[in-house]
Subunit: 353 residues, 2 copies
Amino acid sequence: MTAALPTLTPVILSGGSGTRLWPMSRPELPKQFLALTGEETMLRLTLSRTIGMADAAAPVIVASGAHADLVEKYLAGDGQIILEPVGRNTAPAIALAALSMADPTGALLVMPSDHIIADIAAFHRAVEKALPLVADSWLMTLGIQPDGPETGYGYIALGETMGEGAQAVERFVEKPDRARAEAMIAAGDHVWNAGIFLFRADTYLAALGAFRPDMLAAAKAAIAKGSRDGRRILPDAEAFAACPSDSIDYAVMEHSDRVGCVPVDMGWSDVGSWDTLHDIAVKDGDGNVADARATLIDSRNCLVRSDGPHISLVGVEDLIVVATGRDVLVVPRGNSQLVKKAAEAADKRPSDG
Amino acid sequence: MTAALPTLTPVILSGGSGTRLWPMSRPELPKQFLALTGEETMLRLTLSRTIGMADAAAPVIVASGAHADLVEKYLAGDGQIILEPVGRNTAPAIALAALSMADPTGALLVMPSDHIIADIAAFHRAVEKALPLVADSWLMTLGIQPDGPETGYGYIALGETMGEGAQAVERFVEKPDRARAEAMIAAGDHVWNAGIFLFRADTYLAALGAFRPDMLAAAKAAIAKGSRDGRRILPDAEAFAACPSDSIDYAVMEHSDRVGCVPVDMGWSDVGSWDTLHDIAVKDGDGNVADARATLIDSRNCLVRSDGPHISLVGVEDLIVVATGRDVLVVPRGNSQLVKKAAEAADKRPSDG
C-alpha cells in the first residue's frame, strides 16, 4: 500500500425489495433488514464487513426513503444515509453517493446490502488488491470464483493480468442458460458478478457522463435541489424521478474499456432464495435447517423458519416452510424460484381479516 | 311401526378427545366441537340428524365436565347433559344415560358425536328397522356396508336374518390386518362397526349387570350420590372414578348372544384423520381441498385448512397443511396416522412465548 491510495468509503446499496424470500422479505421489510443467516441482519453484516478495512471512511447507505428510520438505527457512529425518493436502480443510486463525497478523488466501495461473505479476510485482501488500480482511475469489480454452472448470476469474462491479483474485464455476460454457463465454467476464465464495485468518485462520474449524460444530469439536479437533515441526504424527489432507471452494469461497466476485476474466493452468497439459504446453512444430521419454533418428526432435508406459529413437520422431505406475520409459505426445495408467484398472489389478495 | 315400539332417546357420546386431527382437535376443543366438514360442528350435525326421526325424545349428551359450557349451548330446546367427572370409556357413559332415563323401558339411540352421515334418510330407515327388535329386548347396532378392506375400523360378522333388514351378530372383530380385512370383504358377510347402538335402557342395564356388575354398581352409585343442576346431571366424581373403564363393545356386546345388526349404506365416515377429510370433501379440479385462507399455485391433491394465517402452497403435491392458533402442521397425504406424534410432541414442548 502506498500513500497515493485513496480513502475508501463503503457505499451500501439498500434499495432492493426482493420477493424471492417472501413471506419474510416484503417491500416494507426487504431482506437486508432480516437476520436470515443468524443473529444479525444482512445490512448489519454488510456494515460489519468494512470494519478493520485499511483506510476505510464512515459508510454511506443508499436506501429507500420508506426505510429511513429502519436504516438510521444501523449507523451507530459516523456515516451518511442517502434516501432515494424513488428507486432508479443502481447506476443513479451510486451517482448520488459519488456526488455526495467530500473529496471527489476519494474511492467508493459499492456493495449490495443483502449478500453474505464468509471469509472477510479474503474480502479485505481482494479490496486491497484493487486499490492501486482504483487510484489509477480504473472501474474495478470483485469477481466471485464460481463453484458451478449457476444460471442465476451474471458472469464476467476475464482478460489479461493487470498486476497482482487483478485482470482486465473482457465483457459482462448476462444470466446465461445452462449450456452457456457450463461452457464458461469449463473455459475457466469467467467469474460471477456479485455487484461489488470499487472506483474513485470522479472516475465513476466521468464514465457515467460519457455513457449516460442524462442520468448524470438528473442525479446532479437531484442533489443540487435536494436538502440535508443531519446525516440524512434527501435528493429532490421530482428531479430524481426524472432520472432514467438502469443498473451500473448496463449503464456504465459494459461500455467502458477501463474495467478491471479481482477474482476472489470468499464464501460469497447472494442469499437469493430459500434454496440458497438451505444450501449455505449448517444442517442437522437429517439435513434439516430449523429454528426453535419447529418440530421435525421423520423429516429430512427441510428448511423451516418461523417468527410466528410453531411449525410441525411429520414425514416430510425436501420441503421449505416459512411462517411470518399472517403468512405461511410451503414450497418444495429446488422450486423456490416459484416463491415470486406466491408473493404476487399475496399482493393481489384481499385481506383475510 | 306399531304402538308397542319404545320412544327413542338420542344419546350422544361427546367424551372423545382424539389427537388424530391435531392441531385443530385438541383436548380442550376436540373434533366434535369443530366444523371440519362445512359450516356446522360435528356435534351439531349429530344432533340435527335426529330431527324428523319418528318417536324421538329430547337428546341426552354425555360429555366431559371440562366441556360443560361448550355443550350447553348446543341444547337449544329440551334435553339433558350428563357431565362425566372423568372419562371411563363408552360402557359406563351409556350406563349413566340409561340410568337417567325417566322410563326404563324407553330406548336409547347411542351415537358418537364426531362422525358424519351423508344420507340421513337411509339412517332413519335403518333406525326404524331396528326398533321392533329393540322393543323385543335385543341389543341392536347399525353396521356400515364397507366399501373396501379398511384396517382402521372394527368389523361385525353377520349371521342369520332376523326380520326385515336386520341380522343376528355372530361376533365383533377388532381392527384387522390387511389380509383379514380383505378376507372379510371377499366373504361379504361383514360390516363396519360405527359405534351406533340401539336398545332399551333396561335391556342394556341388565346386560351390563350380567357381564360387568362392577361397572353397573359404580355407575348406579355415581348417579345415586350425584346431583342435578337444571338440565345438567352431575354424577358423583369419587364414585364414577371408581368405575372400571371399558368400551361397550368389550364390556357388553361381545358377550351377549342377543345382539342384532341393521346393515346400512348411508355415506358414513368417522372423519378419523386429515386423510379421511380429504377423501370425503368436494375437491377442485386439481384435487385440492382448501379454504379461503389458502392460495394454491401449481399444487395438486392437497388439503389446506386454516383459521389463522394465510397458507400459500407452491408446486406442492399430496400434502396436508393445517394451521390453527399457534400451530401449523405439515404432513404428506397418506401419512396422517403420524399426526399423533406431532400432537404428543406439542404436548411436551415448552411454550414458544
